[in-house]
Symmetry: C2
Amino acid sequence: MPDIDSGSGQLVPRKRADARRNEKALLDAAAAAFVASGVDVPVRNIAVRAGVGVGTIYRHFPTRADLIVAVYRHQIEACAEAGPALLAGSATPHAALAEWIDLFVDFLVTKHGLAAALQSDDAAFQTLHAYFLDRLVPVCGQLLDVAVAASEIRPDVDAYGLLRGVGNLCIGAGSDPRYDARRLVHLLVAGLRVR
Amino acid sequence: MPDIDSGSGQLVPRKRADARRNEKALLDAAAAAFVASGVDVPVRNIAVRAGVGVGTIYRHFPTRADLIVAVYRHQIEACAEAGPALLAGSATPHAALAEWIDLFVDFLVTKHGLAAALQSDDAAFQTLHAYFLDRLVPVCGQLLDVAVAASEIRPDVDAYGLLRGVGNLCIGAGSDPRYDARRLVHLLVAGLRVR
DNA sequence: AACGATACGGAACGACGTTCCGGTTGCCAA
DNA sequence: TTGGCAACCGGAACGTCGTTCCGTATCGTT
């Protein structure tokens, strides 16, 4: 029985044991390296940490973005799923939006260099860009829609632009104590309100 | 008479004619290269455009930041000097602040990659960072002070953070038609208002 | 014209991302 | 158990880029 069900009825050939072991080791090593040196850490460092050759990294994760997404997938999913929950449990739609954006900001500012990588137009980061957008823009859009319907915020704000703006504001947060990204994001969110 | 007065009583040895010629050629070449490929254009490209060796670039401009500052110094000065003028000629201090920030944003979004370079923590860009801050933070601070004194905006906003936030919002503007940095900056500035 | 200071050019080096291939290892069938 | 082959691995090798360095050329003065 060489094949395995990968969650959605698709039969994919089961990977070799050493390949699975290396993939796990790489994820752990990458997570540690990202914490220690940011997501821009040289590929070779991650390879050394994981005790594998650089070729092995590229085989499992063709681009750096694939590795980043794999490392942070759980947290991004959690953020996405928190959207509807906040909407259901908050006093007002605007409060829910603000709290959700806080979650997003908290995630970004604790990941050295991730916000910068998100905005990079380097082709290697397109996958990263796309994953964040696919997963978070709809959630943000829903929060915006409800808040607009409640006449709490201006009607002409789109989720994509807002999310990119928030992401941009998070760049460099954490490396300069004089720069308070959370505060600026709050100001931006305040600017969304109808007067 | 080999020495020359460099503006402030300091006698500095006059540079050789070929050195002055090359410096001019480099500034022109860099300006053209920045427009064509952004401020991250490889050093060698600039050297080729100027018809010079790479060593000559590093002799005249030890870091990339020095070259960028030299290319854009005039525009940055103009932006700084526009602050007081706007303050004098605008309807309200908040309007002056908004207009001045518009100038700053217009400058940034038309210079490919400059906003990103401004926030980079790479040591080579420290000079750039410092020059922008030295020149523009005081101007922004003055605009903020007056607007605060007029009770138009919240009192707890500092010029450094605001300027960095605006700069951050400009990252990637121009390379993605879906991302409207000007609009987000407007929202941020709107968020500064007292309720 | 000759000479010293100044400036030039580009080769060379190290860091990095990425590709490629000879050797190794896990897996299945016989 | 073992043979064989596909999958997989490691790291050498290549191209790009920033940066340094030094032998050579040029300028300005005497």
